[in-house]
Point group: C3
Chain length 223, copies 3
């Protein structure tokens, strides 16, 4: 009925690690909004389980993983309480948030792609599922907390998830075992995002012609 | 196939009452955005059925309750039309919106927890399901209408849903009948939210150290 | 298992056309946010498949259509690349975006209503499913890209989807064949939205009494 408790243990630990670091990024975002501890727990839970929940809904796995087995909920709540009482010790909560998000992005990209393959999806679908489950939790976190979503910032973000999921899928199709393929995907995805954070790596972005006439209600013109 | 028409009649009325008051809160939000009557109906429907739809998707109930039986859609549309023609009679539409939302929050918190239990979820999952189905409709309403989500306001909100769902689950595990347990959960959840609205109850919130260096793009600094 | 590849070919082409034009509207929105090509592809995919994904989830079709068969993903990615390299040739990208969105709105309104009927939903549910699947992709696009959702703009928008889905359902219940009923619904829905774009058609909107006392945090007062 449900794929989660029946997972390969290795992917299970990847999944739980991703839940924990995304929960931490959610709790850190809650701290920037000066929420109370219950708000911390809610944002941590939604961020931690968001990507996997979307993945399970789209793949038709029901009920979703944390309904069958509540470990992820308890993990997210524990992380939220720890962050509530220790975040003031951190020099820059925003930097820590970005790094926790980067770890979660790389972990969920490979887990999402692996889950899709396991459920019989073609490679192109597995790639998109990896990217979607890697980015969805952070997106919900940012929308809930009224922050600018990370996917709208100029540094490379979605691409890191794409590279991670793509490396895993390439390694898998070349006949590598599941475990090294997952590790290779995680490592390359994280490396790309880390480079973007450390060196401000960006891609060539779309540049409109100058002098374009924006309509008066054009939000770009106001930014 | 679907759990909804087979529900205990008592929980069915709780559910419909929650749909109606959330629909009213949605229509009142639409009035603040000066929408037309079709916009009123859409926001009322999405707010009214949002929490129950998320609950059914996560629990794996399919199709979701209002696809099997359209009473909730008709109820939401009727509420939207009534609000469209009578909202100008209300002294403060925003206060009325907050009270309708509070009623819906307390109703959906116990209904969500009860539905999860009925579908075999453990207690911790039922608690989270209560909170999520109580807060999701209002959240979608606020995001759609470009309003600050209520969960970001300082007064107690998520906690009221948690207390309501928790009281129901505690009463249920102590062997109380379903009906008094639902009523007890609803009453305590609503009491907590009402106290927050009347007396401005808040929880201790996270306070960062003074003098923290926010990055230039930090939205908190701009608020 | 999945309804999509088994569809009537006619509705299948309607669906793919809607995916393509919504993908174009998403890529054009990405161009307004100066994203890189991967961001273009992500926004194009999410906008193109959003409405159909919500429809399949709510109707209980699993997995959702693009997991079973990846043509829609490849189509959206192709559209994103084309828009990335050609959007600067367009005089007003915002106008083009609005017209692509209008086509998608009319196409998805009839497809959503038809899919709901096919899965045994009553007429009122099919009407709401048409409206939801027509508006959801564009809504996610606008929330992701931090744009004012089109449903909040004063011109007729949701109503066009309602008219299109309603015309299809009326024609169908009068015994018309599926193909002319779909065409009639598409044509009327698109005509209403086109008139709104060309002539600024609006509905009577809700008007509050003057002198209302908004609370200090009322966002309407600040707009």
């Amino acid at each position: 009925m449900t794929g989660w408790p029946l997972m390969d243990p290795y992917i299970h630990w990847f999944d739980l690690a991703g839940v924990a670091v995304f929960a931490a990024s959610g709790a850190l975002t809650a701290s920037r909004q000066r929420m109370d501890v219950i708000g911390f727990a809610l944002i941590a839970i939604v961020t931690g389980i968001g990507g996997g929940t979307l993945r399970d809904l789209l793949l038709g796995i029901r009920p979703v993983f944390w309904v069958a087995e509540p470990t992820p909920l308890l993990l997210c709540s524990g992380v939220a309480v720890i962050v509530f009482f220790t975040a003031h010790l951190v020099e820059s909560r925003y930097r820590l948030l970005l790094w926790a998000d980067a770890l979660g992005l790389a972990l969920f990209a490979v887990v999402g792609a692996e889950r899709a393959l396991e459920h019989g999806a073609p490679t192109s679908v597995a790639l998109v599922m990896g990217v979607m489950s890697a980015t969805f939790g952070g997106l919900v976190r940012d929308v809930l907390c009224n922050e600018l979503p990370l996917i709208l910032r100029p540094e490379i973000y979605v691409t890191a998830a794409l590279v991670g999921a793509g490396t895993f899928l390439a390694a898998d199709s070349l006949g590598l075992d599941r475990e090294p393929a997952l590790l290779a995907g995680f490592a390359t995805g994280f490396a790309v995002r880390a480079a973007a954070l450390l060196f401000g790596w960006t891609f060539p972005v779309y540049k409109p012609r100058p002098g374009r006439d924006y309509p008066p209600d054009d939000p770009v013109g106001r930014r």
